[in-house]
């Protein structure tokens, strides 16, 4: 790595998560990719990095890069699919970042695309089980929801919380999502709604679970700003891993891959977590959002539900968490999830509606595969 070039997000776009039965992977990808490219003023892109987790299981489609690039008329542009489970987007972003930073390309596109609604939920659970150690977890019926439930139970008992205390996460996320036109869930909910929702894996309920959606998002990265007004610069990237088999963990209340990735990103950006104004965390299950914040050092271990209920992580505070409504509200488009967080953060830093009151300058985006398998953390800064 030569570390000679700055990396800027010059444009982004998002397809609202939902049940897009009339669109396939190609159409969803093209919609977000072409819009981002137009927003950037159509710079040529040297390569496309495509994040996707489940195309083989859900669409019987491999070689996603070439398949998608051809559809948007870029047959000769290298298009590389990155698979890292539901953390694919962060990893794809890292690859794109490296290519620009090392001077190989001037501009590249990173797209996340996933279609979750092509199968029934019971088939989807089977695909989701591939983000466990399948031979020793998925084989016996274990799913990411079951692992998250175990972590939630451990967290509640360790820090003496009732389920009612934990329900603050979905309540807050829906509140934020209700103001976000790009959210899938745009309805405020009450504590009672959460408490009355069905149990997915005790104590985890339906409202603790980000709803599976179809979706696509794209960011265009370049080695210089393409416009003269405010732009977003990538100041730090980090990645961490922590093995697969959950049984081997001595505790489930700290996400070590997230902690490592955060430290790496902060070190690279030569800054501290205290300077961060906005955070987007990967809350596929509410407990994962809580653990991510604590593992990143945004909140102290055991403190998050209390801090949330006191409004300390709301817009207008020292640091705003998931101003977008998180994946809980935006929806969970598998390997494209991180792209939803990245595009949301880009909008938050740029002050794009509805995020025009945040006034955030430094943002952290955390993406993760399964339960603490591989995580990425990206530090973005608004520069003039």
């Amino acid at each position: 790595m030569f570390n000679t070039t700055g990396v800027y997000i010059v444009a982004s776009s998002l397809v609202q998560g939902g049940r897009h039965y009339e669109k396939g992977l190609k159409e969803l990808f093209a919609e977000s990719f072409l819009k981002a490219l137009d927003n950037a003023g159509n710079p040529g892109v040297g390569a496309i990095y495509v994040a996707n987790a489940f195309a083989e299981s859900l669409q019987d489609q491999g070689v996603l890069g070439a398949y998608l690039a051809d559809y948007v008329g870029l047959r000769k542009t290298p298009a590389i699919r990155i698979e890292g489970g539901d953390g694919s987007s962060g990893l794809a972003f890292l690859e794109a970042y490296n290519m620009i930073r090392s001077g190989i390309y001037d501009c590249v596109a990173v797209s996340g695309v996933e279609k979750m609604s092509d199968v029934t939920s019971i088939r989807l659970n089977k695909a989701l089980a591939t983000i466990t150690d399948y031979e020793y977890e998925g084989f016996f019926g274990v799913t990411p929801a079951a692992i998250s439930a175990l972590a939630m139970k451990e967290y509640m008992s360790k820090y003496n919380y009732d389920y009612e205390d934990m329900a603050i996460w979905p309540v807050k996320m829906h509140e934020r999502g209700s103001a976000n036109p790009l959210a899938y869930m745009r309805r405020k909910i009450s504590l009672k709604d959460v408490m009355d929702s069905e149990v997915v894996s005790e104590p985890l309920r339906l409202y603790d679970t980000a709803p599976a959606v179809d979706g696509a998002g794209t960011v265009i990265l370049c080695n210089k700003p393409l416009k003269n007004d405010a732009v977003v610069r990538v100041d730090g990237v980090g990645v961490g891993s922590n093995g697969t088999y959950i049984g081997q963990r001595s505790e489930l209340t700290m996400l070590h891959s997230v902690a490592d990735a955060t430290n790496m990103a902060l070190r690279m950006a030569n800054t501290e977590v205290g300077s961060v104004n906005a955070v987007e965390v990967h809350d596929t299950y509410s407990i994962l959002g809580i653990l991510a914040l604590e593992s990143m050092g945004i909140t102290r271990p055991g403190e998050t539900p209390r801090a949330l209920s006191l409004g300390q992580l709301d817009p207008g505070g020292r640091v705003v968490v998931n101003a977008s409504g998180g994946l809980k509200s935006m929806g969970f488009p598998g390997g494209a999830s991180g792209m939803y967080e990245l595009v949301s953060m880009h909008m938050e830093l740029m002050g794009t509606k509805p995020f025009d009151n945040l006034n955030a300058e430094v943002g952290l985006v955390q993406d993760m595969s399964g339960f603490d398998l591989t995580s990425t953390v990206i530090l973005l800064r608004r520069v003039s």
Partner: protein, 136 residues
């Protein structure tokens, strides 16, 4: 019919683990691993087979209602983490009609059970599950 794509060799090669809960012990430092691995934390690559004990303690559990396709007829599944002689293993807790009677710290034993059937005409997959020693 259940929706499975598990081939015979893929299942067969894990029989020492699925049938006997066989982990590995590092020849150099004595650490035990389940599932088996190729390199120990101490750096050694030499291991001997180490069958885990058949009785242990329940550490934590959850009752899973939203299950993968092949477990539809068995739901809900009770998924637990069990300590077997200092090694933690994840698996199903069975023979417990009332999971609310489970609690961390209770004794469980390893039992050999059918896990699932493979495809329309396929093999039956067996493996370990855990049963509370006292009824629940």
């Amino acid at each position: 019919m259940v929706d499975q794509k598990l081939s015979v060799p893929r299942y067969w090669r894990r029989i020492p683990q699925y049938y006997r809960l066989e982990g590995v012990q590092c020849v150099k430092c004595g650490r035990i691993y389940y599932p088996p691995r190729a390199v120990c934390e101490c750096g050694s690559r030499e291991f001997r087979a180490y069958p885990l004990p058949s009785v242990g303690k329940l550490i934590n559990y959850t009752v899973l209602y939203s299950v993968p396709s092949e477990f539809e007829k068995m739901k809900p599944l009770v998924i637990g983490i069990v300590d077997l002689g200092g090694v933690r293993v994840m698996g199903q807790i069975v023979d417990c009609p009332d999971p609310s009677k489970l609690s961390p710290g209770i004794d469980v034993e390893v039992v050999f059970r059918m896990v699932k059937m493979d495809g329309n005409y396929g093999i039956i997959n067996y493996g370990y599950k855990f049963r509370p020693l006292n009824s629940c």
